[in-house]
């Protein structure tokens, strides 16, 4: 089980990466995260929607309402230019953490 803090920290890079190529709506985002992570990241819609709202306020995504084929209203989220930059920056941050962890782990294993 991944801790709540770590989930919270990873939310932003994951959503930005997810929206990097194409727009999406809340349910779809949840489904895709579930699929990609194999359910390891426990996300609830109660957590996602406020977070999307916050990303929108911070200007990383925009939203628009669309009517689906079944006549239902859906709020689609689109990444902005600022969001794309932030996504790249997030990737660099996470990779540097990743690199650091890698080397520490390598060191830990070699010393065994």
């Amino acid at each position: 089980m991944i801790s709540k803090n770590l989930v919270a920290a990873s939310t932003k890079p994951i959503i930005l990466a997810l929206l990097y190529k194409e727009e999406s709506y809340g349910y779809q985002i949840l489904q895709r995260i579930r699929r990609v992570t194999g359910g390891k990241l426990a996300w609830s819609s109660a957590m996602l929607y406020p977070f999307l709202q916050r990303l929108e306020k911070e200007g990383f995504v925009k939203s628009k309402w669309k009517i689906s084929g079944t006549g239902r209203m859906r709020k689609y989220y689109v990444i902005t230019e600022r969001g794309r930059k932030e996504c790249v920056a997030e990737k660099e941050r996470w990779l540097s953490v990743h690199d650091a962890l890698q080397s520490f782990w390598a060191a830990a294993e070699s010393s065994d």
Binding site: Y25, G26, Y27, L30, Q31, S44, S45, A46, M47, Y49, P50, F51, Q53, R54, K57, E58, R72, M73, R74, K75
Partner: protein, 868 residues
């Protein structure tokens, strides 16, 4: 049977009840829920199972709401709170008005106190501005100087010998022009008459008549209503009149070119009408060219002015003329008399006036500061009642800046309101101030842009100064604390309050002590036997026709049984102050420069004023030799060291005679004036042109018919002169003027100080009572009586009042001792007065303290205990 639609709608309704959720978010959540449920149903769950699972995962609606709130709150930039919100501004005003209403008494006192202080500050500012504005309108103000003489004892004398200015001008090219102001009106009777072509003659006595040198109008640039200042003094028979005086004779017509007769014997032609602003230190009604060059006259009685060349170096010129008195005077005076220059703009305040300007400015600053401190005390004392409001505002997201703005805004509004009240007060009080100062200050004519800006600045300064401490104090508290008990406000800050209140009461006590001392001295002055009796003495203006027929006039009057005595003199005996050094007697130390008062008078003066003789006799009409004889007073006998004064030889201005009597010392009405050695003479050589008044002693009964009889007799001998008469006792009262004025000013300030100190102690008492609400409640429940509670609460205040008085007394003592020293004759300082001041401050303080503690003590103890 489970109905998915119904369940979803119920769920949405629940979400809507949460205020943190916007409609759009709810729609989004609803769609997401439907997607989720549909997905689970597709994987094989029943609709009911799927709905329960999804809603369980999403959590309770209030948690969802909280999540959204957190996301939005943290997403907001910090700049949000600083934005101005008009809706809130209305709310602030509403809150301020409600606070005012709910604490009417306190707010009203606060407002009145602030208004009174602002009014006094505005009045003082108007006065100070006027005092500082003197002579600033003169074109040549930068080069125009008054010649002064510094006496060996350090006194600065505004008068210099008549011959000095011409002598300096002859020898120093630095001086472009000079003028002396020979005050003829003070030396001799001056009357003017105008005979219109048709209509009765207009005639009046004038006191403000100056003889000047030709440069006068080039130096003093008084604007001319008509006529030309450059040529106005060209002819020896010219006269320039001030516009107000001109109206007395010529009405609205143009006087230039008309004939004005001086003392019925010399015709003068009006060559100009000048207007002199009230803020000029000299304002003659009549200006006439000085015909006598006075170049050999080394007496000094009047001022002289010089106009310096623009290229002249002031410091070196000052150095050059400093010792000139010794150089020029035929018989130099012993001791160092230094000639100096005083810029014309400094003349008005140069002889003691500046002290008053400084003192009053200081008073204005002090009372402003006190008013601010009081506002702070009252506002922080009420902090408890406002802490909930502040807490709630903070919980609702108000930033500190906003709260600070709110409270400073409130203080500004209060100050602005007080300012409006103050303006009203100023309008009401200005006539009083004008009567007190003899000025014509007015608010409407006094407001120029600069002064308006000053007033605005005053309001903003007081508002911000008074509002900022409570603003930061109140807004600094954490909301949780604010909701806790008011007891949390107990703090060291009360030390500030105590010091401020003790300070204020010290000032009040000091002012009260000073006021009482001033009044005591006034009473002393009034009750002190002067050594002469001025009651039922009629003062009649003397004129040349009466001079010619004086003996007949006198004999006629004495036929009237109501007339007891008739005499004449240069001045009212108890108000004259003519001094001379021209006295010599046997055994005088040649190095001594004597200073002796002299009286130019006629026989019967001593009898008219009921003066008594210590030795010898007074002048007698029967003794022809008396015109060369002298009478002196006791002081003079001692001063001259004469053991046997009667019969001793005395020389006045070179005229030798014998002393025939020693009159007992008598006081001047203004007891500032010391009894000086005095010489009395009836020698016509000296008195003929100097006598200005006739004094007639009458019986107390039937004053009106007596006055009529005197007028008729005067009309018989001097039909060509107007009749002007007044009883002296009335005139004597006006001579107490400056002391009375000081008394009134002190009373006003003491009253104001008491009012604002009461305001301060009210704040302190309110604060102390609020802190002890619970204690009072508990005491009451346990059976304490109202008087016991009042006594307990007010106890510390009595100590503070006592401390304030102990602090004030030394200051008051030294201030009053200094003031009293200016009187030659004075009361002793009485410790009883100080105790009295203490009692008065105590009574003044008791009102608010007892009021507050009674209010608390009488309140229902249940309320006191339930206030949390």
């Amino acid at each position: 049977m489970f109905d998915l639609e119904k369940a979803v709608r119920a769920w949405v309704r629940e979400l809507r009840s949460n205020p943190s959720l916007e409609e759009a978010s709810i729609t989004e959540l609803e769609e997401s829920l439907r997607d989720d449920v549909q997905g689970l149903v597709e994987s094989g769950l029943s609709e009911e199972q799927a709905f329960r699972q999804v809603t369980a995962e999403m959590g309770r609606p209030e948690d969802i709401g909280a999540e959204f709130h957190r996301a939005s709150a943290s997403g907001r930039s910090s700049g949000w709170a600083r934005r101005f919100m008009p809706a809130l501004a209305r709310d602030y005003i509403r809150v301020a008005v409600r606070k005012f209403e709910s604490q009417k008494f306190g707010s009203l006192i606060n407002l009145t106190g602030l208004a009174a202080v602002l009014a006094v500050c505005i009045l003082i500012s108007l006065w100070v501005r006027d005092e500082l504005s003197y002579d600033k309108f003169l074109v040549n103000r930068d080069r125009l100087y008054l010649l002064t003489i510094e006496h060996p004892n350090g006194i600065l004398d505004p008068n210099v010998p008549y011959a000095l200015a011409p002598a300096l001008t002859r020898d120093y090219p630095e001086i472009q022009l000079f003028t002396r102001i020979y005050d003829l009106g003070a030396l001799a009777t001056c009357s003017f008459s105008y005979q219109p072509e048709n209509g009765p003659k207009v005639m009046a006595y004038e006191d403000s008549v100056n003889l000047v040198d030709p440069g006068f109008f080039s130096m003093f640039s008084f604007p001319f209503v008509s006529g030309d200042p450059a040529t106005a003094l060209g002819s020896p028979n010219a006269v320039v009149i001030r516009d107000e005086a001109a109206r007395r004779y010529f009405g609205d017509g143009d006087p230039v070119g008309r004939r004005l007769t001086f003392n019925n014997r010399r015709d003068l032609v009006v060559t100009g009408v000048m207007h002199i602003a009230r803020n000029a230190h000299i304002r003659p009604d009549f200006v006439i060219p000085l015909s006598d060059p006075l170049s050999g006259d080394w007496n000094w009685r009047d001022p002289s002015y010089i106009l310096l060349d623009p290229s002249a170096s002031l410091p070196s010129f000052r150095e050059k003329i400093e010792g000139s008195l010794k150089t020029y005077m035929p018989q130099p005076l012993p001791g160092t008399f230094k000639v100096g220059l005083l810029p014309v703009t400094k003349v008005h305040l140069g002889f003691g006036g500046l002290t008053y300007v400084n003192v009053f400015s200081l008073i204005a600053v002090i009372i402003l500061a006190i008013a601010c401190v009081n506002y702070i005390n009252l506002a922080t004392a009420r902090a408890g009642s406002r802490s909930r409001e502040v807490g709630l505002r903070k919980v609702m997201g108000a930033g500190r800046t906003q709260l600070v703005q709110q409270f400073i805004g409130e203080a500004l509004v209060t100050t602005a309101l007080a300012f409006v009240l103050a303006l009203g007060l100023v309008v009401l009080l200005l006539p009083f101030l004008n009567r007190l100062t003899g000025k014509a200050l007015s608010l409407s004519s006094g407001i120029d842009p600069l002064f308006a800006a000053y007033l605005l600045g005053l309001v903003v300064l007081v508002g911000v100064a008074a509002g900022s401490y409570p603003a930061f104090f109140l807004s600094a508290r954490r909301p949780v604390e604010a909701f806790r008990t008011v007891a949390g406000f107990r703090s060291k800050r009360s030390a500030f309050r105590v010091v401020s209140v003790v300070g204020q009461f010290a000032i009040s006590a000091m002012l009260i002590a000073c006021t009482l001392s001033v009044f005591r001295q006034l009473q002393f002055v009034r009750n002190r036997p002067l050594g002469l009796v001025a009651d039922q003495v009629l003062k009649v203006r003397y004129n040349p026709s009466l001079l010619r027929h004086f003996e007949s006039f006198k004999q006629d009057l004495l036929q009237n049984p109501r007339v007891l005595n008739v005499t004449r003199s240069q001045a009212v005996p108890f108000d004259e102050d003519y001094k001379t050094g021209g006295v010599e007697w046997d055994g005088k130390d040649p190095a001594l420069m004597p200073l002796v008062r002299y009286s130019l008078m006629d026989v019967d003066l001593f009898e008219t004023f009921g003066m008594e003789f210590a030795a010898g006799r007074g002048f007698s009409a029967a003794e022809a030799g008396d015109r060369l004889n002298y009478v002196i007073n006791e002081k003079a006998a001692a001063y001259m060291g004469l053991n046997e004064p009667v019969g001793a030889r005395l020389k006045l201005w070179g005229q030798e005679g014998r002393i025939i009597g020693v009159v007992k010392d008598f006081h001047h009405v203004s007891l500032h004036r010391e009894i000086l050695p005095q010489v009395f003479t009836i020698n016509p050589r000296f008195t003929a042109n100097a006598i200005r008044f006739i004094f007639i002693k009458v019986v107390p009964a039937g004053l009106a018919p007596t006055l009529r009889a005197v007028r008729d007799t005067a009309a018989k001998y001097a039909p060509d002169y107007p009749f002007e008469a007044a009883f002296l006792d009335k005139g004597a009262a006006s001579l107490y003027g400056s002391e009375k004025r000081l008394g009134s000013i002190f009373t006003a300030f003491a009253l104001l100080a008491v009012i604002i100190s009461c305001l301060g102690i009210l704040g302190l008492a309110a604060y102390s009572v609020e802190q002890r609400t619970k204690e009072i409640g508990v005491r009451k429940v346990l059976g304490s009586t109202v008087p016991a509670i009042v006594a307990r609460i007010s106890r510390p205040f009595w100590f503070w009042i006592l401390a304030a008085n102990l602090l004030a007394w030394p200051f008051a003592y030294f201030a009053m001792r200094k003031w009293l020293r200016a009187f030659a004759y004075r009361t002793d300082l009485d410790f009883g007065l100080f105790v009295m001041a203490g009692l008065l401050t105590g009574i003044a303080a008791a009102l608010p303290v007892v009021y507050q503690s009674l209010k608390a003590a009488l309140a229902d103890p249940i309320k006191a205990l339930r206030y949390e």
